[in-house]
Structure formats: C-alpha cells, structure tokens
Amino acid sequence: MNSMMSIGNLHVRFATPFGSLEAVRSVDLEIPAGASVGIVGESGSGKTVACRAAMGLLSGSNVQRDGTVVFDGKELTAMTREEVRNEFGTGMAMIFQDPMTALNPVRRIGTQLSESLRLRLGMDKKAALARSAELLSLVRIPDPEAMLKKFPYQLSGGMRQRVMIAIAISCNPKLLFADEPTTALDVTVQAQILQLLSELRRDLKMSMVLITHDLGVVANHTDFVAVMYAGEVVEQATTAELFANMKMPYTQALLNSIPNIEMKSGERLQVIEGRLPNPVDRPKGCGFVTRCSYAQQKCHDEHPPLLDAGNGHLYRCWYPLGHTIARKP
Amino acid sequence: MKYRVALKNLAKAVLVLFLVTFSISILVRWLPGDPIEILMPFATEEGRAALRAELGLDINVVQYYFSWLFDLLRGDFGVWYASTGDGGGVPVRSMLAVALPRSLLIMLYTMVVSIVFAVPLGIFLAYRAETRTDKTISNVLFAVSSIPSFAIGLALAFVVGVQLDLLPVIGYVPFAENPSEHFRSLVMPVVSLSIGLIATFSRLLRVDMIATLREDFVTMASSKGLSNMWILWRHVLRPSSSTLMTSAALQMGALIGGAVVIESVFALNGFGMLLTTAIATRQYLAIQSLVALIAIAYIVFNLIVDVLYAVVDPRVRGGRG
C-alpha cells in the first residue's frame, strides 16, 4: 500500500511565559493512500496540533517542531516555507472545526471559494466562479448561484460547513484533514456531513484524516484509528482491530463516554474523571495514571513504551485490558 | 512563574525607557545651530571648551548618552544655562523642585476630580441606558469631550474669574502657604482639564457597565433581592472598570505634557512651561532629563495599572496560569 503521508517522531513545543510546553510528543503515524485515518482524543490531547504541525500550518517564533513528515514522497520538513505552501490546497487541505470562524465574515462566499481556484489553479474569474458553483452543488448546496453572492452570516451552520468542504476540495487535494468537522453542528446535520465527506473521499480518491473526540464517528467512517492522549499516540490499529480488541483503559473510557441511544433513562453517562496532566510539568509515569481505575505503582513510576500486540496494533500501557488485574476499589 | 512575567514586563519597560532617552539624545543633537553659540555667546575660549565637554559635543553620541544616563541615575539632571551666555546657570533639579510639584498636584487633582465625577455619572448612564435621559446626557458629554480644554479654560477665566469674581485667574499658591487659596487657585485649571476627561471616562464606564449588566451574575444578584444601588456599586462597577483604568493611565502620561496650554492660560508655570521653555531656549541637558522623566512617569503609571487590574478584577489574578 502506498503511503500518502508518513509522520516520524514528531515533537511540537510551545514557548510560554511559564516554560516550554510540549504539546505533541514523539508521534509516529502512517496515512496510507486512499485510506481514512481517524485521530481520536479529548480536547487538549494534541490531535489538532499534531495535524497542523504535520501540515506545516503552525507558525510563530514560539513554536518549535521536530521530526520528519513525508508527504506524497516529498519530505515536508526539509522544504522551505514557500515550497510547503505550494502543497497546500492542491496537495493537502483542511476542513475546520468551526465553520463560523473559519469563513471570513466580511467576504462573500463566491469570493472566498473562487480565490483559491484563481490563485492556486490560475483560473480566470469567470471560470473560477463557474467552478465554484459546481463545487457547491458537489457538496449538495441547493441554488449554488445565489449562494455565491451571500455572506457567511446569512448561512446556517450546516451550509457553512459544506462551503468549507467545498473550499477544501476545490483544488483537488490528495489528502484532506478534517478537524472535528461536525462538532459545531447539530446531530442530524452531523450525520449528513460525515456521509458527504465519506462519499467525496471515495469519488475524488482522496486520503483523509478525521480528527474527532467521538469514537462512534471513527467506527463508521475510518479505516485506521490512532488514539491520542496528552500529546502522545497511546493506541493505534485498524478500526476493526481496535474495536474488536481494545487495549487501553483510556480508549475504553472514551468509548464509554459516548451517549448511547440504547441507554436506559436515569442511567448515568460515564465521564472520564480528573484532568489532563499539566503539559508544562508532566508526571514521570503514565500520563493517564491519576484517572485510570487500573493504575498500579509501576504506572506512577515508569512511562510506558509503545508496545505491539500484533497486526500493527500498538498501545502504550503496562496493564492493558484483557490482563487479569484487580480494579482499584 | 508570575515573577518571571513581572520581571519580563519590567525589562521591557526599561528597554523602552532606554530607547526613548537615547532617541532624545539624537534628536537633541539634531536641533539646528551650534549649541555653544546659543548657550554661551559671550564666553571665553576656555569656557566654550568646558561647555563643549559638558554637553558631550567632543565625544560621540553613545558615550555622551551614557555619561548623561549615569548623571541622571545619580540625581544630576544637568544644568539649566542662564541667558547670560557665560555658561553659568542653575541645576535643572532646582527648577524641577519648583515646577514639578505644581504639575503633579494639578494632575492628581484632575484625575481625582475626573474619576469622582465620572464614576457616578457613568453608573447613572448605564443604569438609565437607552432612555431619553441617557441619550441626552451622552450626546452632551460627547460634544463636551470634543471641546479643547484651553477653550474651556479661557472661557472659565473670563466668566467665573473676572465677571463673577469667584476665583483667582492667575498664579499658583502652594498648599503649605495657604491651603484654601491653594485649592481656589487650582479650581479653574483643574476643571478645564477635567471636563473633557469626565466626559471620556463616563462614556467608557457606561459602555463597560452596560456589557456587565447583561451578565448572569447580575440577574443572580437581582434575584437575591439586593437593591439596585448595591448591585451597581458592589457587583457591577469593579468588573467594568478595566477600560477606565487603562484610559486613565494613558491620560496620566498625556496630562504631564499636555497641560502646557492650560499652564500658560492660568500662568501656573509648571512642568509643561518648563519643558516648552527648555525646547525654545535649547536647554540641551534639561530637555533630555525632562523628557526622560515624562517617559518614566508614563511607564510607571502603566505598570501600576497592570497591578491595579489584578486588585480590581480577580479574574486577571487567577486567569494567568
């Protein structure tokens, strides 16, 4: 299988007034061509930062990125800013979490959609607008011609997200990052958007990285899953393998926190107690130790390495699920 | 951690101070004409050479700057050269001893008066927001804040001072000499400077308070049955005062030099007059020292406001981490 993007030993550090903050630690990730990879984790677990860092979207003097990123056979981390920029849009593109802030409030939809066509693909204004209308119908927006003239505030959330998707796919990217594309939307719209993304991916033969905190979403729309916690990949497998043979207590906790239609009324939704460790001042052991109901002394003392359970199923735990260990009272 | 932030801010302030004073050094060198000719037209050759050395004209601007800086740190603000042109003069420090207290007091009174009037007015307007009273007063304040303070000063001097014969029209009386005359002599200058500030401040406070009044904790307080006055003063005022404080700090800096015109209208001969005269008469050392003082004051006021934020609004204190 061809690799579309391969991330090796990625570290991201932010300099803050309170010291250096390591948001992403030693992440290795493989995105096969044509596949859909899910990255799952709570907010603050580093999934968005890792993806933006992989793309090269993080900038500023306070950001330090280490590691290698190879995209489509080219090593992004060795390229100049300008060369990387040339990959954006045509090579890789991104869909953002909040379509409300990801669209420029003062510019018309048509302008925002056609500008990438004109600037990146060199289309003239007329052709770009025509193509924009096509793209809008591709993302199933009714009456695309009228839509081109509107401002973002005149659209519903779902419509805006469709526009975002249209912009992202406008230059036929090979790899699409979708950063929590449905979080800001209501439930019925969520399903439509995810369905749309999956279909587009298939039709346009893109690879996709779907970033989400919702394991349920991952189950239906991805081929591979990486679970992130506190800046690290803690579990990684094919989607089928992961759900069949879950190793991490954390992954299980994430799964338990999804609202379930079959839940009886009155039954409490399980939440993950406690907080993420302080990223400036990490504990030396396992990052999840304070919140884990299976934690032992070893978990406090030693940081678990990434272990292989076979089938490419990696996990980072001293006492993975399936071991017979007494739960803490 | 917090100390590091504070230290960093302090370091930045010191850097700004350094750059301001250094730029002034260069600017002063640019003043056209040979300073020796201006300060000492009648001096002997030795005298000229001595002044040349004193003004650092025989060394480069960097060396000169540092020698000036060390003098300043030792409390030596340089010499105010007398118009006699023989290089003699009085220490700038003694000129400052006369002029600075006046200006500082005027500033202080102006700030106190402005805030004492602006706060109740701002609260009142926020409380009556969008009513006809609010709109009328807001529009009037708007108009008033656009009138230059010297225009108000000139009108006050004539109407209140001469025609109504209520207050003295010129001069400054030190507090120690006669407390009641001291206040009387400063009423009109302070009022002329305050009117615009009151308008500005109360408008700022009004906007912030209206925003705060929309917050849930106000509804909460209201539902507890607290009186409106209590809610306005105790619950709403503090979280709404940060813009007011920022603006006050900025105005403090501007007032130091900006009272020049008012000082001339009421013949107060304070810091502003001193500075203008220094520029006019090419008092090279004095210009540098006076501008450095203003910059220091400006920066100190801003640091103080940073601290005050934390005192007034606990969110700033806790929110940093």
Binding site: - | E37, F117, L166, P168, I170, F183
Partner: protein, 545 residues
Amino acid sequence: MNKLSRGNHRKVAFVMAMALVASLSQVAPAAAKGDDIVILIGEKDSGWCAQDSPGLDQISAKNAVAETLTIMNEKGKIVPYLAKTVENSADFKTWKFTLREGIYFHDGEELTAATVLANVAANLGLNPLIPASLPAIAWQDGFGGVTSLAQFAAKAQALGKYVVQFNLPAPRPLFNESWYANGRPVIWSTKTLQTKACGTTVGAGTGPFKIRSKGVDQFQTVLEANPNYWRKDAAGKRLPKAATVTYKVVLDAAQRTNALVKGQADIATFGASSGPQLNEMKKNAKLVLFEGRRDTTWSFHMNTTAAPFNSKSARLAFSYAIDREALAKVVAKGNADAAYCFGATYHPYNLSNGGKKKCATFDLAKAKQYVAAYKTETGKDLTVLLPTTESTESAKANQAVCNMLKKAGAACSLMPPVTATAVILRGFALQQQVSWFNVVAGYSPAFADLFSRKTNLELSGFRFTNPGLAACFQTALETNAAAKYQECAAVLHGEAYWVPTYNEGGFIVARNTVTGLGETPLPVGGKRPVVGLSGFDIASVKVSD
C-alpha cells in the same frame, strides 16, 4: 437592556448632587493685603547682575533693590542720585563723582569709592568672577578699551573715601547718562559682585527693598522693606512705605488685566501693544492708568551684513511697505502714534525736530517698485522672516507687518517662537534678518553707542558696519550737537537701516487703592516719572485697604 428594575434612580441622582456640592464648597475668602504689594510684569527674570541683560520690566524690579549713581527725573534730565554731585571738565574728558555719605548696602557694606570702582571693573569684565557685561557696550570704548586692572587704574581712581574720578581718552559729554543707562549699571555691594550667583538668586544693593526670594523658575521675586533706606519722603518720614513687594511674571497681557481687575494684583505694567486691554481698563473706575511720554520708537532693525537686507532695495521696499498708521491702529488701538522718524519730535535725532527734512513714509507703489528692483538685482524674490515671541501681541503685530509686505509683493513668514527665542539668545539680532527693536531714546541720544562703537561683544549684525556712519555718530556723540545727530539720522533713514513703526509711552496701571506712585522727591530736586525707563519709584508706594 439592563436587567435591573427601575425605580430608585433618584438615589443615584442624589449621590451625584452631593458630590457636586461637596466639591464646590471650597470657596474661601481672599487673603488680606495690607502693606504687601503685588506687581505683575510681563518679562521673565533672567538675572540682574552686571553680566545679565534684563528688559525694562525686570529693570524696574531690579531698581527697587539696587540703584544707579545718576538718575533721570520727570523732566528728562540726568541728575545725581547715589552720587551727591557730578562734575566734569570743560572738555568732557574728566568726570568726578562725589558719593553721598552714610549709605549702606543690605549686607552692611558702606557705599564708598572703592565699591564704585569694583562695580566698574566688574562691568568691564575685569573681575574674574563676573564676566563682561552689557552696560560695557556703553562704557568700554569710553575707557579706551582697557583690558587689565592696571590699565583701568590709570583711568579710574578714588580721590578720597567718597570721591571717584574718571579720565577718559575722548570727550564724553553724556558720561553721566552712561551711569544711568535706563537703570542698568546699578551699584552692587562688593560681596555680591564676587558671588557667581550674583543677580540670579542673591544681590545686595542700596535700594528701598531687599531680596527675600528670587525664584529659580524666573517667575516670581519677593522683596521686603530695607529698614535702613537712605531716602526720606517729602515730610521727612522713613521709606519705604510697603512691607513687601512681590513681582509676579505673567507673560500674557490679558491675564495681567484679568488679575488686576480682580484685585489679584495692585499694579501691572503694559506696553501699548496691549491696546484693547488698556482701552477697557481706562473705563474701569477701580483702575488708574499712567502713560509715559510717547518717545519709545519701536523700529525694525535691518541686519545689513546678510541677505536680503544687505541690499538697499530690500530695505527700502520694507520701509515703504509698512503702513504705519494701520500698524499703530492694529497694535495699539490708539495707544501709540505712527512713527516716521526716530523718537518724538523733540528728540535730537528727529529730522523734523526744527527741520524740514522728511522721514520714512508708507508708499505701496514705491514698495512694489523696490521689491521688483530687488528681484532684478539678485534674481530672487524678496523673502522676509519675522521673529515672534510667545506673546499674542507679538504674533499679531508681526502678522500685520507680514501681510503688508505680502501686499507689496514680497514673501513673508513668521519665525516661530521656539526658533526665535533661540536666535535671540545668540545675542539680540546677531543672526536675524530683521528684529523689532525699541529705541529707548526719549530724552537721551546715548543709543548712538549702538551705531558707533566696537565692543567685545562683536554684535556685528546688530550694529552698523558702515564705517562712515559709525564715524558720523562718533562725532555726534563727542560733540553732542543736534545738527550732527540729524545729519547721521538722515543717512539712517535714507538707507533705511532702521524702519520706525510706532511711538509708545508705556503704561503702568494701578488699582485706585494704590497711593504714592511717583511722589517721592529726588534728593537733588524733581521726581522720578511714574512711567519712566527704569521703573517708577517704588519706595513711596502703599496700598490703602
């Protein structure tokens, strides 16, 4: 919208009203006055000692503390003052001053011949502690350019404890006038002369008042009565009458007026340029105005060493362009006369004084013609730069002049005070094209010194460098003949070196509670004028209140 219920906004209003009342209830009664006199003047204090150059307002303050050997009476005659008698030889080369006995300085020193010699030496720059002074302009050449104390000893000597004699190399018919020089060459105590701070914050003279405090900020001087003052009033009673005198500097005439009308001051000085204020004060029953004789001619002095006024065409264009009647009207509002010649008609320089000669005039056509001539001569447009001071009057008057010049086709702009002040500090008009200059020449032609001599000050731009004219004035000075003066003055006007604009007398305005202005008789007869060139006699002034 607010989430508060409405209803008790009255409380809010009440609190605000209370705050307002509290802040206004500060009004207290004015301070008592009694024997304390407050005088407002329009000039900053830049030092009183020999090396300083105070203007008329500061000289009047300075003369309350230190006095001159001779003085001018109300008739314009120079009479002995600290000196009992002044005698001169027939050739005006030997001058003998006999001092009054029993006069003591504020610091206890007695006035003797030695003190006078120390003062002369200081004025000539022979005192190493005190640099050369401006009165030296008037003196130095008179002493034949002495540069050392040894040379000086041959020219000036004490003939006894109270007698000083000067031997001059050339005739000086007006040498007694030089000892007055509008109140400048005062006699300080020897100790004062030896202090570096002489005249800035300290100074012991023989005058009716002692220095209590002299502000370093140059805006206020407080004097207190000298209990041992030597003069007595007409009834033989002790002087001075006031306990303290405070000179406050208020640069703006309108502010001086306001303060005077309100009673914040007892006396204030004004120039004719404060015309609107003066006219208004004339109507005020509480105020009394004293106007001096209109013999001070405000003139423009041309710097003949540099462009454009090294060109005669430029100077004539300037002279013809100024509509003096309009200028006097704009500036003084009827409180000054347009000036066509130097000084008043009785002045020895005045060409119309007994003569039929014509002075400068206003003639727009001729002005335009000379502006054009200047253009042909130099290929450049005539561009004039007028220096202004911070005062409103200065800006007003200069702007009026500027517009007159523009009407004549010349370019004209005002030099801003920040520049002009710096330039003036370089020694009057050292480098200006042109400057306003008041020729204080009412009774005495001594300002011929300005035209005729070389001094150590090298005010080359300030004085004429025309050797022929300098010789003319030198002769005039030595002979003191009106005809000779007029001959020189004719050259002045013909070449337009000086352009007279208006004559003013100066004003002193007092509240009607002030008594004794100009009352004390001088020891040799006559009185000091109320509005004189060295200030009124402050010793007899008192406030009845």
